[in-house]
Symmetry: C2
Subunit: 333 residues, 2 copies
């Protein structure tokens, strides 16, 4: 295992040390080293945005803390949920008197710990509401949509929720638009290589050389099928098909496309892939309002790519275009 680490059991602590010295605009929140928040908090009376999840997906989750995005994030171990205490401390860091929207992905550990954290918050009379992203079409059939995992579409939920909070929406409003972002969003991934958790020291799943796994999860959860590697054009077609079959994007004003590398995919190849996606979407008559191509939500050093589509109405368009600033995403005024 060739990696740039110190102690494999302390990669998260060591990363957080680097994040904090590199980014004075972020800070450790109170006495909990596993909560990162904005050094300059949002104004009093602004709805707080919280998220959280396992580490190893950088720049997710902590890379989306910043103006127009997330207020505080709970940081878990590699590929495992933050503790309930960390979610609760993130709620406290993000609470500016107008309630907190906890916008997170649908994983068993996160569901359990957010639930516990909400109980702690209720005992302090804090107002917390949640939206759970389940944008991964490969993880369960449409009839079981609530069982689907959250993947890169979570970024749109943070973007839209964070913009709404900055635009003085109340908690009801923030929850409504974050849920709308999830409802209008579908994702799928393809994995080309496995990844290795340093503390484990070997890949916890395998993809044979020359093969790819369609629908793979962000932690190597099994996908739909393992098949021989295809051209970028064929991958785009294979990934767009289940997304477009699952939701009618032709009803929207336009769409936002997010292509994220999983960690080891050269940036060059993300653009090769995006060129195919763009061409195929245009051929289907869909209008692209905006696109994001880069490493936005990764899985350590996995090679592969995820594709996310968000259907826009006028409100979502305004919120997507709102400026923001963070490690993972910066949009000018």
């Amino acid at each position: 295992m060739n990696r740039v680490i110190n102690d494999p059991d302390h990669v998260v602590e060591d990363m957080l040390r680097g994040i904090l010295v590199a980014h004075p605009e972020l800070c450790q929140s109170g006495s909990n080293p596993r909560v990162i928040s904005k050094a300059k908090p949002s104004r009093q009376g602004q709805v707080g945005i919280v998220t959280g999840g396992g580490s190893g997906h950088e720049p997710a989750f902590l890379g989306y803390v910043g103006p127009g995005l997330v207020d505080a994030v709970a940081v878990g171990e590699i590929f495992s949920s933050p503790t309930a205490k960390s979610f609760f401390d993130a709620f406290r860091a993000a609470d500016h008197g107008a309630g907190v929207a906890c916008l997170y992905g649908n994983y068993a550990g996160d569901n359990m710990n957010v639930k516990l954290a909400m109980k702690m918050a209720a005992s302090k009379d804090m107002q917390i509401r949640t939206v759970v992203a389940n944008d991964d079409v490969a993880s369960a059939p449409k009839a079981d949509i609530a069982k689907r995992r959250g993947v890169a579409g979570e970024i749109f939920m943070w973007k839209v929720g964070g913009a709404a909070a900055a635009q003085h929406y109340d908690l009801d409003g923030v929850i409504r638009v974050a849920q709308k972002a999830v409802d209008h969003c579908r994702s799928i991934g393809i994995g080309l290589t496995p990844c290795t958790i340093a503390a484990v020291g070997k890949p916890n799943f395998q993809i044979p050389d020359g093969q790819m796994e369609l629908g793979i999860g962000h932690h190597g959860e099994p996908g739909i099928e393992v098949i021989p590697i295809e051209s970028a054009a064929a991958m785009a077609e294979r990934m767009l098909a289940p997304i477009l079959a699952d939701r009618d994007f032709s009803q929207d004003d336009s769409v936002v496309v997010l292509v994220s590398g999983l960690g080891a995919t050269p940036v060059m190849e993300l653009y090769i892939f995006y060129a195919e996606v763009e061409q195929q979407l245009k051929a289907k008559g869909l209008k692209i309002h905006r696109c994001y191509v880069g490493n936005y939500f990764t899985s350590l050093e996995m090679m592969g790519v995820t594709l996310t589509l968000l259907g826009l109405d006028a409100e979502l368009k305004t919120l997507i275009d709102h400026p923001c600033r963070s490690i993972g995403m910066t949009q000018a005024e």
Copy 2:
């Protein structure tokens, strides 16, 4: 070979197609598909900034085209120089009547093609001057500094030159500060895995598992030594030593640190590495003015990291802090 491509012989064309549809702020310049420039050119009378180099280093080079940075870039095949004609066409795209500064890295192919392009430009009475980055301390001894390769320090040369052009420096002034950036800058890299050019289909060099190559070049050029992988702290020490031995950074007002992944290194690990660099620089009494941690200058899917230090005086500090906007680097006003 597991990759997201169409035809291995057309990865550059296919990437450029993706870049252009994803980024309407960039355009193909004239009839040469291998020249990318700003869709909205700099004002008349502003010194033009040109760079260029082989592909496979994304976001370098084309990801640094934008306000406050580069005007036009000549795009080569994977790991090989753009043609003389492409450099010349980039000069034409960047020429707004105040001359062009061609700021590129020290490689035989680039040197030859820039020289030829300058002859073409001279026949058209265009005013072109060059600065050649040679920041890689591992590539030749100090006595032979002109033989050293340019690596990630090129980004500082573009940043400083582009800011100076935006701040109405004339061509003499832009060349002076870009050269100062190179003179004040030192880099070194460590490679943990090789990378594969798709059209070749297998790695063109090897790094044994469990080993790392100190001083490796951006195309796999041999480094100083191949040794067992160490902790991030030891890597930081091993990389800082030759940089600090080569130039006295304690004479500067402060330093800028750039930590770039080579493609497949998880972002988490770049921050783990930066934490060690920061601590060791502080212990030596050096003041860090600003840092950049991310994938700024890559080598396809190589795993590894490069470290670059830039010593600042008052002028360089102002230029480094100037706002800019591009795929690879965005700094707010």
